[in-house]
């Protein structure tokens, strides 16, 4: 992709889209480009660069709200929040190594891809924190939806559609989102040497406990061996990790309670710095980094181990569980089309979806990146797309191939 436009104002975004409609030129929407390898490769070859729509225009810590241009770097947002001991509670991952990207992720990309990390299980995904959106439809209309307050049922919640639409509905220009206090203290409770089935059971017990855990992951021995946290890598065993966050006295108490719950298992505890390192590794899928092909599966949490067992028959070489077993990361050496169908069949048996996150462009052109939908749902999704973007100007083909 060599040619394109760089918009500096929302008006210019609208102007570019109207031009694109009039000349039937599909546009590839782009922030800094760190998520270019995520999703299908778009059929559009003219870039509309939104990275200059950057900057935090509103941040009111006491109101728990921030507004920023879509091109604002995620790192800048996190730095501003940190000054006030706040954070994006959904723990958005960067996924730069995962996707082989060198660019700085932007908040627009985080929202457009609905990214969320390990804390998603407790705190929700990006979509749960997105309060308001300004953007331009594929018709060239500048619209807004939502607002700057958490409680708002005025009109349809089009923010939910914008989140996770990979730029196929709206060229977002500005987003308003909820921010939350960062926890005073964080600890991670490690259970050593569990099998995947026992780990999912233990994680489920922790999730069902009243201890408000905020991270529930499982690293098989090979994944654990790759951690930069010595307590995790040096054991030579699998590691089941449970994170507890909150005010100091509360964290102390809950760690004690978890210790009692798992009295018959060998345990370790990680303090703040190691906790940060470990959960960043999990969110960034670091333990699977060498795998040429990486899948992300969302399934009912209690089914995690059974699905993983079935997947090992499909050539799964490396595994990582997050979200108490509800999120399975799966690494493979290679992928044939029939293997992909088998992975999806394993997921369909329990309900959920499988997304091909890391694969070269040729593979992503032949294997559906996103989980194929039943015909009636796919048809409705297409009608929703058409309602925003009748000529498929925005990121054409990024989610599903064009038909007809």
């Amino acid at each position: 992709m060599t040619e394109g436009f760089q918009a500096e104002t929302p008006e210019q975004v609208a102007e570019a889209v109207r031009w694109a409609v009039s000349s039937d030129t599909p546009l590839a929407l782009r922030g800094n480009g760190s998520k270019s390898a995520l999703g299908r490769a778009t059929d559009a070859h003219t870039v509309l660069d939104l990275s200059r729509l950057a900057g935090i225009s509103l941040y009111e810590p006491e109101e728990l709200v921030m507004t920023a241009g879509v091109g604002t770097r995620l790192a800048d947002i996190e730095a501003a929040l940190k000054e006030n001991n706040q954070q994006l509670a959904f723990e958005p991952p960067f996924w730069t190594s995962l996707l082989g990207a060198n660019e700085e992720p932007t908040i627009g990309g985080v929202m457009a891809c609905n990214l969320a990390g390990p804390r998603r299980y407790k705190a929700g995904a990006a979509r749960d924190h997105l309060l308001g959106v300004q953007g331009v439809t594929g018709r060239g209309d500048a619209i807004k939806t939502g607002g700057r307050v958490v409680k708002n049922v005025t009109g349809y919640d089009l923010c939910k559609l914008a989140a996770g639409s990979y730029g196929t509905l709206l060229a977002m220009t500005e987003v308003t989102f909820k921010v939350l206090p960062a926890a005073e203290k964080a600890r991670t409770f490690l259970l050593m040497g569990l099998s995947p089935a026992d780990a999912v059971k233990a994680l489920g017990d922790a999730a069902r406990s009243p201890h408000e855990v905020s991270g529930l992951a499982y690293l098989p021995d090979r994944a654990a061996a790759r951690s930069a946290v010595e307590y995790v890598s040096a054991t030579g065993q699998s590691v089941t990790a449970v994170r507890v966050e909150g005010p100091g006295p509360s964290v102390e108490y809950r760690c004690g309670a978890l210790r009692d719950m798992f009295a018959d298992i060998q345990v370790e505890e990680l303090h703040s710095r190691n906790t940060r390192t470990l959960w960043r590794e999990i969110g960034e899928v670091a333990p699977l980094m060498d795998a040429p092909v990486i899948w992300r599966l969302s399934v009912p949490p209690a089914e995690g181990a059974a699905v993983a067992a079935a997947l090992s028959a499909q050539g799964a070489e490396a595994l990582l569980f997050d979200w108490a077993g509800g999120l399975i990361w799966l690494g493979m050496a290679s992928l044939a089309a029939d293997q992909a169908a088998a992975v999806r069949a394993d997921v369909d048996r329990v309900g959920g979806h499988a997304t091909l996150i890391r694969a070269d462009e040729a593979l992503r052109a032949v294997v559906p990146v996103f989980h194929p939908q039943p015909a009636a749902l796919a048809a409705l999704s297409r009608r929703v797309k058409d309602s925003f973007d009748p000529h498929h100007i925005l990121n054409r083909g990024r989610m599903v191939p064009e038909t007809g």
């Binding site: 040619e3 394109g4 436009f5 760089q6 210019q12 570019a16 031009w19 009039s22 009111e60 006491e62 109101e63 728990l64 709200v65 001991n85 609905n114 998603r120 299980y121 995904a125 979509r127 749960d128 439809t137 209309d141 619209i143 807004k144 700057r148 307050v149 958490v150 708002n152 049922v153 005025t154 009109g155 349809y156 919640d157 923010c159 939910k160 559609l161 996770g164 939350l180 069902r208 406990s209 009243p210 408000e212 005010p247 006295p249 509360s250 108490y253 399934v299 209690a302 979200w323 309900g351 979806h353 996103f370 989980h371 009636a376 749902l377 409705l380 009608r383 929703v384 309602s387 925003f388």
Partner: protein, 495 residues
């Protein structure tokens, strides 16, 4: 309030439609008797009344699909209804419409503790879900005040909140899956027991769509483990400013209370007279702060909040020492509407949301409006999330007073939008706030919302007359004027 003109052709086929519906659902599930239909003439917004042409009470998903398809084929409008507790007229029937009443869908289909979720039919009440799982220590978090009566299907339609949504989220944050029937009879499954949709988030779109996109026939809700303890603080302040300041400082200290409610002087006194919860009668504003979690956490946070309240000039601080006392603190707040209702023949409940720091300004302006209209107003406020419920007192028997109350309400909601807030935080637009949508949205904004509606219901048969002030035909909305070649190049930096 103008509703769509009844279609004479539809009214003329009433008899044959009743017969056709009785082929789809059991005959006694089709209500056509005029006396019986009167029972459905309004929802919680009683100022508007209109009996439906016919009411149907289906029992199965197939029946819902067949009823909808039959109505679409015959060009008949359909209004879905749960328990009819809407405060915005979302379930107001149409004179030429079928009222689709979902109360027979009243079963909890599955409780799955392993996956921390429950699969329920839409006619199950909000509270019934919690009742079904509380013995195991679980609950369903969103708790609208009407939770004893309102149904989960209605909660999905309105994206209901409650007093605990600051910490635990709204309906939209607590739903994992839906089964939905479209107007043409198509049955869809969205989501399930796993997290996050793949493809467009149609669950998020359906939630809060006020029954205009599809009929919900099954809901998978997330269950939460109940906290070990909850304690509440009752704090009186000499002014609304001091109360508001305390709320801001609690949140700035990094504390997200499970509940954070504020009442003004009028509401405090009405509640005290009504049920004697022991509210401080010298206070201009009252805060109820609820903290939950393990004992150690609650104790720690109670002392922090107490310190903040002292620093903000609190007149009185009480901390609940028992579960009974905690519930008693809440009793006044939860009964605020009937308590205030007792002081007046009628009251009108508003539902705007504002950026929290605008509260003193909004209350001052509201007092001016109250003098201007000559109507009293009491305020209860979900202070944590900025959702304001002014209750306007009026007497419908005095000619012109209902209209005055409505004008007063409109002025309040426009003020909410003016200070950066929204028209409705949790009650929905319905018919009530339909004509105010232009105060918040441009024509382009509203047209795009209606185009989304067209993707689900291209003929506009499902719950028309709600939410949108002007109804456009889908063909008209879909039209696009493209001037090919007229705009050779955008005037943008290129690379």
């Amino acid at each position: 309030m103008q509703m769509p003109e009844p279609d004479k052709k539809v009214l003329a086929q009433r008899g044959s439609l009743v017969a056709a519906l009785r082929n789809v659902v059991p005959p006694d599930s089709v209500i056509a008797d005029e006396q019986a239909l009167k029972a459905f003439e309004c929802d919680g917004l009683t100022a508007y009344r209109q009996p439906p042409m016919i009411a149907v009470l289906p029992e199965t998903v197939d029946q819902v699909a067949e009823v909808l398809k039959l109505c679409q084929d015959r060009g008949v409008k359909v209004v879905p209804r749960g328990a009819g507790t809407s405060l915005s007229g979302g379930a107001l029937p149409l004179a030429d419409g079928v009222l689709l009443t979902m109360t027979k869908f009243n079963r909890i289909l599955e409780v799955d503790f392993d996956n921390r979720c429950a699969v329920v039919q839409p006619g199950v009440t909000n509270l019934a879900i919690t009742n079904a799982v509380q013995d195991e220590g679980f609950y369903y978090a969103p708790d609208p005040s009407s939770q004893i009566a309102c149904t989960i299907g209605g909660n999905v339609a309105e994206n209901s909140g409650g007093v605990h949504c600051l910490k635990y989220g709204l309906t939209t944050n607590n739903i994992l899956g839906l089964q939905v029937v479209l107007m043409d009879g198509t049955v869809l499954r969205l989501g399930g027991k796993h997290l996050d949709s793949e493809g467009y988030d149609l669950i998020g779109l359906m939630t809060g769509s006020e029954g205009l996109l599809g009929v919900v026939t099954e809901v998978t809700v997330r269950l939460l483990r109940a906290p070990e303890t909850a304690r509440a603080l009752l704090i009186g302040f000499p002014s609304n400013e001091a109360g508001g300041d305390c709320v801001a400082k609690i949140i700035a200290a990094g504390i997200i209370p499970a509940g954070l409610e504020m009442m003004d002087r009028f509401a405090i006194q009405a509640a005290e007279e009504f049920c004697q919860p022991g509210y401080p009668m010298d206070a201009e504003s009252l805060l109820i702060v609820e903290l939950d979690g393990p004992d150690a956490e609650v104790e720690y946070l109670v002392s922090q909040v107490r310190g903040i309240a002292d620093a903000c000039g609190a007149l009185s601080i009480r901390v609940s020492e028992s579960e009974d006392e905690r519930l008693n603190f809440w009793a006044g707040r939860k009964n605020a509407f009937p308590a205030i209702g007792r002081l007046s023949p009628d009251y009108y409940c508003m539902d705007g949301t504002i950026p929290r720091h605008k509260l003193p300004l909004v209350l001052t302006r509201m007092a001016e409006m109250s003098r201007h209209y000559g109507l009293r107003v009491a305020n209860v406020f979900h202070a944590g999330d900025g959702n304001l419920h002014p209750l306007i007192l009026y007497d419908a028997n005095n000619p012109g007073e209902l209209e005055k109350a409505e004008d007063f309400g409109s002025d309040i909601l426009k003020l909410c939008v003016e200070v950066g807030g929204v028209l409705t935080g949790e009650h929905g637009v319905g018919v009530e706030k339909r004509d105010l949508m232009g105060a918040m949205f441009s024509e382009e904004d509203l047209n795009q919302q209606q185009r989304v509606k067209c993707a689900f219901d291209p003929d506009g048969y499902l719950n028309p007359g709600k939410v949108f002030p002007v109804l456009h035909r889908c063909a008209e909305l879909g039209r696009m004027h493209i001037n090919r070649g007229q705009m050779p190049f955008p005037d943008l930096p290129r690379f």
